[in-house]
Subunit: 159 residues, 2 copies
């Protein structure tokens, strides 16, 4: 199975969090897992907050990137598009809410899951949990919107 | 003037986003600016989202670290503590809300400002804006809580 991020067109595959073409990035990869999506990530020792625990900014970043990939997956499923063979629509984040329920231990693999909330037009809401190793330590709710014209290459504001 | 982060005890100065003792971190530094706090940051070229724009996870991380430092500053001010000479109480994030109002251009220095919301007991709410270069592109609301006992060194869950 290829990752959702592998279905992004090259022009939009540079994201620091999950772009396959970003050499210094985190290369988060999100997959279908039944009705949900899942990604796994092992933080580096320097991704620390207070010693022993994962930095909250990194956790927000993982929630964010997994949510936008999940939005692509859920939008594709709703439209009957098979991301194994077709390119995906690319989503970006309009708003991100992250609740840190418990400190997340630094060391174990983190498991990030996404479930679909409402889909309407260009907007997909994604519910995210992050577990380490078995306890949910972080919950996220992310409003994702399809990439606006102003962010596409060739637009005066774009690259 | 020393940064708020310079008033953190060494044991809690390892944060990936703003710890002075984290060699691979971002070293965000937050200062008083009148009644508010301010930090400045220039993203690296690889902190990209869609080409031309800053990664949303990094933006969330900057909002997060500036908010927890601001919480230390606002709590100190409320208690009459001078962070130029004394150590600060260390705050962590309970919940983070980030609204991406406009795409944030990659290149210019980002200016992150914090204003105090309600302070009650161990909790400080911080309102954050991020501008690049003059337009506010991101708004954040962060609920910060004083470092819980379970995250302190020596506790079974801690380092």
């Amino acid at each position: 199975m290829r990752a959702v991020q592998d279905s992004y067109p090259d022009a939009w595959a540079h994201c620091f969090g999950c772009g396959r073409l970003n050499e210094q990035g985190y290369h988060l990869r999100s997959y279908w897992d039944g009705e949900e999506t899942v990604a796994r990530f092992v933080p580096r020792p320097y991704h620390v907050a207070i010693p022993g625990f994962v930095n909250g900014g990194l956790l927000a970043s993982l929630v964010d990137c997994h949510a936008t990939a999940s939005a692509s997956a859920f939008a594709a499923r709703a439209a009957g598009v098979d991301l194994e063979r077709e390119e995906s629509r690319r989503f970006v984040t309009a708003s991100l809410r992250v609740d840190y329920l418990h400190p997340t231990p630094l060391g174990p693999e983190l498991v990030i899951r996404g479930a679909s909330g409402p889909i309407s037009g260009r907007k997909v809401v994604v519910h995210v949990t992050l577990s380490a190793p078995s306890e949910v330590t972080v919950r996220g709710e992310v409003v994702c919107v399809e990439l606006p014209e102003t962010m596409k290459p060739g637009h005066p504001l774009g690259a």
